[in-house]
Symmetry: C2
Subunit: 185 residues, 2 copies
DNA sequence: GTCTATACGCGGATAGAC
DNA sequence: GTCTATCCGCGTATAGAC
């Protein structure tokens, strides 16, 4: 039931954007009544918050796997592994990812989601710390934010253009990241 | 009058996001009645479209100036000049820029706005064509889209974090762009 | 637990007075 | 041309039957 509602909400989001996500639409799409929906979700926003939590949790798990695999390898290889995760995650459902990205800052997220986001940021920080020792303190944090933002920007734009060649995209994003980092080193 | 309405709409957008932009709110903020508003704008969306048109026209004008100034200089210097324009444009009113960015794809824009966007893209294409001769055809277009997207991603994220040091940001974005392009050359 | 029916408010848009 | 008043539809959320 909860599953059906979240699934319906995700589909509506990627087809019509945030403006199309109404409780009536979700209930109808999920094949349940509006009354039943409100037994499992307190509000429309709580549906969105749950979608975000699940999405981020999946991303974190994939990143942790990739980070474990990257342990000890070169910066270029490590970057590639993490970028692969980001690309796959975003290109799987580009419209959905984009809609969630937009709405996320406007929502009050629960503690668990906040913790997940901190953990994701931590993975990038750890990688940079290990691979680019000259980066420390605030410069390290800025660099982590920058590589995340430039990767995300490129991947999101590629998704909007309908790009489907993940290999090529991974290649270009990895190049941008290492290019950004190399003069620092 | 038109001016007052657009100004009010812009302020509401940057304070409350797209969800707060209602015709009633705009009219009240502008100090005019809802009836008068509808004499100058056919719908809520037409207000948004006009905001976007004006914003893009200003950006284009600034980019054209920068491109003229960049003529003949090195790739690094040319990139820096254009990035400076992008950073200044976005950091002037970060929330507004972000809201317009999001809503833009969902609107049906008039021909003039479309032409402006093509012209903006053309400036980047021209720069890359002149500075990186090895880029041609589709690879050139992809590279232009990539540098625009990675710049925009970094600048937008910096704006969201409240970063105000434009020099430092210009420096980092320029580094990312040239880093992305250098292995191609 | 799930349904139908409905209350409630809000936002877009219009009518008509001045 | 600008105003006030209002219509209308939609979306959230709830009440109450089954």
């Amino acid at each position: 039931m909860v599953e059906a509602i979240l699934d319906a909400a995700a589909r509506i989001l990627e087809e019509g954007g945030i403006g199309a996500l109404g409780t009536n639409a979700v209930a109808q799409r999920a094949g349940v009544s509006i009354g039943s929906l409100y037994q499992y979700f307190a509000s429309r926003d709580s549906i969105l918050a749950e979608l975000i939590r699940i999405d981020h949790a999946r991303l974190l798990a994939e990143l942790q796997q990739a980070a474990a695999k990257a342990g000890g390898r070169s910066l270029a290889e490590s970057v590639r592994l993490l970028v692969e995760v980001g690309v796959s995650h975003q290109l799987e459902r580009p419209e959905l990812a984009r809609a969630l990205d937009y709405v996320e800052p406007t929502l009050s997220l629960d503690d668990e989601t906040v913790a997940i986001e901190r953990a994701i940021n931590g993975i990038v920080l750890t990688l940079l710390k290990a691979s680019v020792p000259s980066l420390r303190g605030r410069a390290l944090e800025v660099a982590a934010a920058d590589v995340a933002a430039l990767s995300h920007g490129m991947i999101d734009a590629a998704g909007r253009r309908g790009e489907t060649d993940r290999r090529a995209l991974v290649e270009r994003v990895s190049r941008a990241v290492t290019g950004y980092l190399s003069p620092v080193d």
